[in-house]
Amino acid sequence: MAPRASAASIRLDSLTADPASEAAVRETAMESVLVAAGEIGYREVSVRSILERSGGHRAQFYEQFESREDCFAQAYASWIERLCVSLLEAAATTPGWEGGVRAAVVRLLEFASERPAIARALLVEGQIAGQPMTARYEAALERLAAAVDGIRADLEPADAPPEATGSFVVGGIAASVAEALTAGDPERMWDSLPELMHFAVGAYLQSEDAEAAFERAHVLLERRRARLAEEAASAEREAGR
């Protein structure tokens, strides 16, 4: 009589036989390592802490990744690319330079509000983890900086700001969002939107432009607050029925 397979090996066999499931296991583990790093810090992440969040078994994990470092590196590469493309897309599909910068910042704040642990892993813990994450982070910042720097083509050479302006602006925005994420205060992050726009626009244009950008971002922020208040009131009414 053939030996009976254990429950674990049956699950493993079924997963490895199905490429779609294998990809799903991999994706879940990559998301889980980022969530774990964002919640408990990169230094504390272990394979156990990943599996606690993703489910599955050690054997499955080691079929996909060499180690927790390898899992984090692959997850970081995948998610920082997704975030970068998402921000570039937000900017590219919004009219005007200032509008594009604001749309990208809003997209970043939305991402950080909706997925704070992953945002923290990408903006904070990746720096702590070191290479190759640091290089990927800097490459993403450079792509975003090049996009922000697009306004340079519209400026007179005499008015052009220093070459490092794009990196300065993008690095400054990322540092501000990282600080708010570290403080665990998503609303404070949103409150900073007008200041971030003042900072970004002021680095390229005149102070009047920066003040106007501050005001427009402030209006947008007020609209968001009103919408959230309305949604909260509506949810309360639904719950009361």
């Binding site: 220093p162 990196s167 900072f199």
Partner: protein, 214 residues
Amino acid sequence: MTELRLISGGAVALAEPEPDAVPPLPRLSPGRHGMPADLVRAHQRQRLLAAAAAALAEQGYGRLTAARVTELATVSSRTFYQHFEDLWACVLAAYEEQAARLCAGIERAGDAHAGIGAAIEFLAREPDAARLLSAEPPPQIAALAEARRELIGRLGAMLRRALAERDGATPLPGLERRLVAAALALVSTRAAGGDPERLRALEPELTELLLASL
């Protein structure tokens, strides 16, 4: 702040430091040297602080260990724990020391323009300090994260004050903190390569960005 100085014959003495002087690192010669215990202890502490910054530059926060710090400081693990409760207490002490030296150099420079130049020169001359002060520390180490916030606040206040003295400008509240955080992010990128000239090349651009943005 008082620090240890090596004087002739390998002896050490306590002296008021030049704010941006390089701290002494050499190990004391083994065996009997007739030095008072408190001076030996102070020398060990100074070596541990320098080693913490060097180990961080080498390993980053993700791989930093107390073992590597003691190895670079050429002290025993026992000596390490006689000075510091744990790795993070040592890194915090190193951070606070370098932050104080950076701020003292800026204060001494006088105006905003010279202050930015002094800061860049300090960081270019001392790459380990540059890495220590510009790298984002693990947020779970609350005291270290707080020390960084304090440094950003202090540098921001210095920038605001220097600008007010220059042309009476009053920047948007909080903007100076954002500018300092952005400058540190830029320094962190340039410091990572370990090339001091890349950092020095940043000075004119950073000066323009910081002063024009305010």
